[in-house]
Every structure is written in structure tokens, then in C-alpha cells.
């Protein structure tokens, strides 16, 4: 069973500020335009990606391949709309690209592609790949004496994959304190609750036992994310895992904690109305 966590309770009731609402409008604009998208998985991620790109990462949108930039890999590639809106909003590419989401000649597909989208560090979509790539990036930084940090955004369903735990062992072996795994713990995967599909608890203890310094927080609390990400590594010599308790579909009442909104490939009129009511006309 999923343990009751005050962070999970807080995630359910936490109010969103204007920037978070704005970013959600951008996600839903792309969804509405394409008539499809992984809605729930993007909405649970927004604050994690927002704080990384607004407050934490050293980045230069005009020089997306700057060797000294911090790197973020969206290992749960299906949450790409959250990443796309942050990249567009920060100026990596024009906001108008969002309107072409998933269209034939768009740079923005249903999973992010390296080389296609400025600011995307790795092509993801197949789950369980990102943390290993992140270990490689972080190990390279150490071998080369570079100061950049690597952040990897993982889904909770994604960490069903055994390769994630291979990567976790490796990160701990190498003492990669320049590597941060953020788990979007919305407790709902494609089929249903994570504790039904493949129970993850005790999740924090799992990461601890794999050699990580672990933080837990409300993943929609911008202040808590800033604090936690601002002090990495909390334990020198150890990689960090931040378990972010979130709500799938956060901010769109019809989608919140509703597995039916994991992926939409055709939005009905009533679903479009749900979006309009939630975030207004845009």
C-alpha cells in the first residue's frame, strides 16, 4: 500500500500560482491544437520542470549546447509537453511551435527528440533509459573536471524498469553527487494505481538502500522544490533522489488522479469544455 505522506496530502490541496497556471495553459493549448497528448503525465511534472529551468539550472537558451550548461533529461519522455512549454517559454524555440505539436513537420513529437528540439538532451520515450544516460553525463563531468550538474526526471511507473535500478547502483558506486534523480510520484500509471500495477513502497527507503541521499516533498510546492534543488548535493559523495509527491493531471479537475487522462488521442467536445472551464479561453 502507498504510505500516507503529508507531502501527498499537500500536493492534492496545494494552490497553483499564476506562472504555474500560465504554463498549464500552454500545455493545454498544445493538446487542444493537436487533439492529443499525454495530459496527466505532463501536468504532474510542471512545477518540477519549472523550478529546474527558472531557478536552478545554469542554461543559456541562445546557446543550448554550451558545454558548461546543466543538463536535464526527461526520462519519462511522455511528459514532454511540460518540457516543451518550459523550453519555449524560456526562449529555446518560439512558442508558436507548440501549436504544431505532433503534426507531420513539427519539431515537437509525442516524445522528445535529441537533435530536433533545442534544449532536449536525449531522445526518450522508451522508459528506463534516462538515468543510465544521466550517469554517463555525470561521470563524464567528473572525469573532465566540469562543474555542470545532471538532473533526470523519472516517472513512478517508469521505475518499474529494472534498468533504472542498475543505473542507481552504478550512480552510487561512482559517488555521483553531481547527479539528481527526480521522481514524479503521482501514484498513477497508465493502467491504474502504482500500488496495484507494481507496488513501489517503501520508495524512499529503496532509493536510500541503493546509496542515494533522499528528499521527499510536495512536487507542486515551488518553494520546497527550490529549497531542495538549491542545496544539492545534500550529502557530498552521494547521488540525490528527490521524491516529488504530485497529482496526475494537476490543475485540470477532470484529469486529476484520473487514469483515463494518462493519454488522449482524441479529445471529445466535453473534454475540450473541461479544459476551457479549468483554464479559461486561450
Amino acid at each position: 500500500m502507498i504510505q500516507t505522506s503529508p507531502h501527498a496530502e499537500a500536493a492534492l490541496t496545494c494552490k497553483l500560482d499564476e506562472r504555474s497556471l500560465h504554463l498549464r495553459r500552454l500545455v493545454l493549448r498544445a493538446v487542444r491544437s493537436a487533439g492529443r497528448g499525454h495530459v496527466g503525465p505532463a501536468l504532474s511534472l510542471i512545477e518540477m520542470v519549472r523550478v529546474l529551468y527558472d531557478d536552478v539550472m545554469r542554461i543559456d537558451p541562445k546557446n543550448p549546447r554550451d558545454p558548461d550548461r546543466d543538463r536535464t533529461i526527461l526520462s519519462k519522455g511522455h511528459g514532454c509537453l511540460a518540457l516543451y512549454v518550459l523550453l519555449a517559454d524560456r526562449g529555446f524555440f518560439p512558442l508558436s511551435e507548440l501549436d504544431g505539436f505532433c503534426s507531420t513537420d513539427s519539431i515537437l513529437g509525442g516524445h522528445p527528440e535529441y537533435g530536433m528540439v533545442p534544449g532536449v538532451e536525449a531522445s526518450t520515450g522508451a522508459l528506463g533509459h534516462g538515468l543510465s544516460i544521466g550517469v554517463g553525463l555525470a561521470l563524464a563531468a567528473r572525469m573532465r573536471g566540469r562543474a555542470y550538474r545532471t538532473f533526470v526526471l523519472l516517472g513512478d511507473g517508469e521505475i518499474n524498469e529494472g534498468s533504472v535500478w542498475e543505473a542507481a547502483m552504478s550512480a552510487a558506486k561512482h559517488g555521483l553527487d553531481n547527479l539528481v534523480a527526480l521522481v514524479d510520484y503521482n501514484k498513477l500509471q497508465s493502467y491504474g494505481p502504482t500500488d496495484y500495477v507494481l507496488p513501489l513502497e517503501p520508495l524512499a527507503d529503496k532509493w536510500r538502500s541503493f546509496g542515494f541521499a533522499v528528499e521527499e516533498l510536495n512536487g507542486h510546492d515551488v518553494g520546497a522544490l527550490r529549497d531542495a534543488l538549491g542545496k544539492v548535493p545534500p550529502v557530498p559523495g552521494k547521488p540525490t533522489a528527490i521524491i516529488c509527491h504530485t497529482v496526475k493531471g494537476k490543475g485540470l479537475p477532470a484529469a486529476e488522479s484520473n487514469a483515463d487522462w494518462h493519454h488522449k488521442n482524441k479529445l471529445t467536445d466535453s473534454e475540450l469544455e473541461d479544459i476551457r472551464v479549468a483554464v479559461g479561453d486561450f
Partner: protein, 319 residues
């Protein structure tokens, strides 16, 4: 061949600081000398092939050239998605050094016999597939791996294979080597089938049947120009491979000839392992012999094929 390839990694590491050796759980002492000279670039990462491929991708994104080494089946079957997505989709210069290509691990059974590796690696966009015939050729290949763009799958033989490659032929990835000029017959080989083809050609020559040999050490990208030139005017093109009939060298050659020669297509005979897992043990040699890939069986199959009526063409895998 394996020791040579490993020692070449050490040698390349001495020349180029981008070179990393990454083993999963190799035999004790593998590249011990390199581990002493370059301890930070000699990485042993555990029995975690999926992770190792992803980690290598990350290292390659940052400018390293990782040489990943383990048993061929584990480097292909176990982590196929990582090879496809992390290496090939990103087109990264990671080198996969596969120990025990084909039936090298015959006594260890089907989990260790890499009999479809060429097919599944060749199917991936951006992948290069190379199968050297002997240790000398492996060394020449390794020299060229530093700056080759994109991932390379290197299928190694057992080691101790007779040295038949020759320095004067040179070596270029993607450039086939004419070992014997084409006659009525053209044999096309890859890996350690070259030695069997040379012996078979001698047997055929003794029967008055001139047989050429084209050594296609690189199965992808296939050297179509040299293949077409060599195949023109021959009565029979024979492919020899230590591999299942699907998707390997025979398939690559057949695809090319069909695409390029049209009505001028020569007859073709594809000699390979059967479309089945091996349920015998023994040795690489004994299993090759059992499946008709010893020199005398190859020569006999070719004699039968050219004795058959001109049309229809001999059946594929007709041993």
C-alpha cells in the same frame, strides 16, 4: 582475436584520451595492464548491460569513445532497445566488442551462441557491423575505430583462428577484400568463414572449378560496388556465414543483387546455420561441420549447385 582486440583498446587509450574500456563482468584480469596504466578509463560496471549501454551513450555525448565489451549474446539480445535508442538513434560513437560471435561458445549452449546477432544489429539504422576473420584483421579494424562516426558492432571469433588476412590487402571499414579473383564461382564470406572458404576454394580448384572469394568483413555498410563488380560474369554467388539464414550476410548480398542486377542476376546459394537454436555442444568446429559449413561440405554443396540445371535457382540454405 579477442586478446588482440582488447590489447588494441589499451593501445588506442594510450594514443587518445577519449578512449574508455567498459566491461560488464569480464574474465579476471581482462586488460589488467590498461587498468594499471589508465585506471580511470578502465571501467568494470557489473552485469547490467542495459545500463552500460545507456551510460556509454551519456559518455559518448560528452566526447568519449567507449569500447563496451562482453559476450555477444548479452551485448545484443539483452540490451537491444538501449542499442537501438541510446546508441543508434543518437548516432553515438560507442564500440560494441562482442566476444564469442557465432558458435564460439558452442559447449555453453544456446544462451551463449550468437547466431542472429548480425541480423538484428544490421537492421538498426546508423549501426556498422564488422566481423574480422583473424587477429591481424581485428587489429587493423581496431585502428580505424577511433574516428568512425556512429556505433560499431564488432563480432569477434574465438581466438587462435588461422591468420589468413594479409597486410597488403589493407583494411577499410566498409570496403570488401577480394581474397581470390572471381571465377565461375564467387564465394562471399564474413568473419571466420573466410578460412573455410579458402580451404573450400582449394578443393574446388583441384576439381578444375575456379572459385573467387570476396571477404565482406563489413556487413553494414555493405560494399555494394565491389560485390557487384565481383559478381558480374560469375555463374554462382555463394554466401557463407556462421549465422541463421535470416537477415545476415546472405540476406544482405541477396538484397543487393536483386536490387541492382535485375535480369542479370546470377544463381545464388546461401550457406548458413539452420533457422534453429543449436541443441548440440561440442566445439565451434564440430557444430560448423554438423551444419555443413566445413570446407569439404562447402565445396560439395557448390559442386552440386553448379551441376544442377540452370533454372530454377538452387534453393536457399540447401545443404
Amino acid at each position: 582475436m579477442r586478446n588482440t582486440a582488447m590489447n588494441m583498446v589499451h593501445k588506442l587509450a594510450g594514443r587518445d584520451e577519449r578512449v574508455l574500456y567498459i566491461g560488464s563482468d569480464p574474465g579476471a584480469g581482462t586488460l589488467r595492464a590498461m587498468s594499471k596504466e589508465f585506471p580511470r578509463r578502465h571501467l568494470i560496471e557489473g552485469i547490467s548491460e542495459a545500463h552500460i549501454i545507456g551510460m556509454s551513450a551519456g559518455l559518448a555525448m560528452e566526447g568519449f569513445v567507449p569500447y563496451v565489451n562482453t559476450i555477444a549474446t548479452f551485448l545484443t539480445r539483452r540490451c537491444y532497445e538501449q542499442v537501438a535508442v541510446d546508441l543508434c538513434l543518437h548516432n553515438l560513437p560507442v564500440r560494441l566488442i562482442a566476444n564469442g560471435g557465432g558458435l564460439v561458445y558452442a559447449p555453453l549452449g544456446p544462451t551463449h551462441q550468437a547466431i542472429e546477432d548480425i541480423a538484428i544489429m544490421r537492421a538498426l539504422p546508423n549501426m556498422t557491423v564488422v566481423c574480422p576473420a583473424d587477429a591481424d584483421e581485428a587489429a587493423r579494424l581496431m585502428e580505424q575505430t577511433l574516428d568512425w562516426p556512429g556505433p560499431i558492432y564488432i563480432r569477434l571469433g574465438k581466438g587462435g583462428d588461422a591468420i589468413v588476412s594479409r597486410a597488403e590487402h589493407g583494411f577499410q571499414i566498409g570496403r570488401a577484400i577480394v581474397m581470390r579473383p572471381p571465377g565461375d564461382i564467387l564465394m562471399v564470406t564474413t568473419g571466420i568463414m573466410l578460412q573455410r572458404a579458402l580451404a573450400a576454394a582449394d578443393l574446388l580448384a583441384a576439381q578444375g572449378i575456379p572459385a573467387g572469394i570476396l571477404h565482406m568483413h563489413t556487413v553494414k555498410p555493405l560494399d555494394t560496388a565491389t560485390l557487384l563488380q565481383a559478381a558480374r560474369g560469375t555463374r554462382l554467388v555463394v554466401t557463407l556465414e556462421e549465422h541463421v539464414p535470416s537477415g545476415g550476410l546472405g540476406s544482405a548480398v541477396a538484397e543487393t543483387l536483386i536490387d541492382k542486377l535485375g535480369p542479370g542476376l546470377p544463381a545464388m546459394l546461401r550457406l548458413s546455420l539452420p533457422d534453429s537454436f543449436m541443441h548440440n555442444y561440442g566445439s565451434q568446429d564440430s557444430l560448423l561441420k554438423k551444419h555443413g559449413l566445413a570446407p569439404n561440405a562447402i565445396a560439395a554443396a557448390i559442386e552440386r549447385a553448379i551441376a544442377a540445371p540452370a533454372a530454377p535457382s538452387p534453393q536457399p540454405h540447401s545443404v
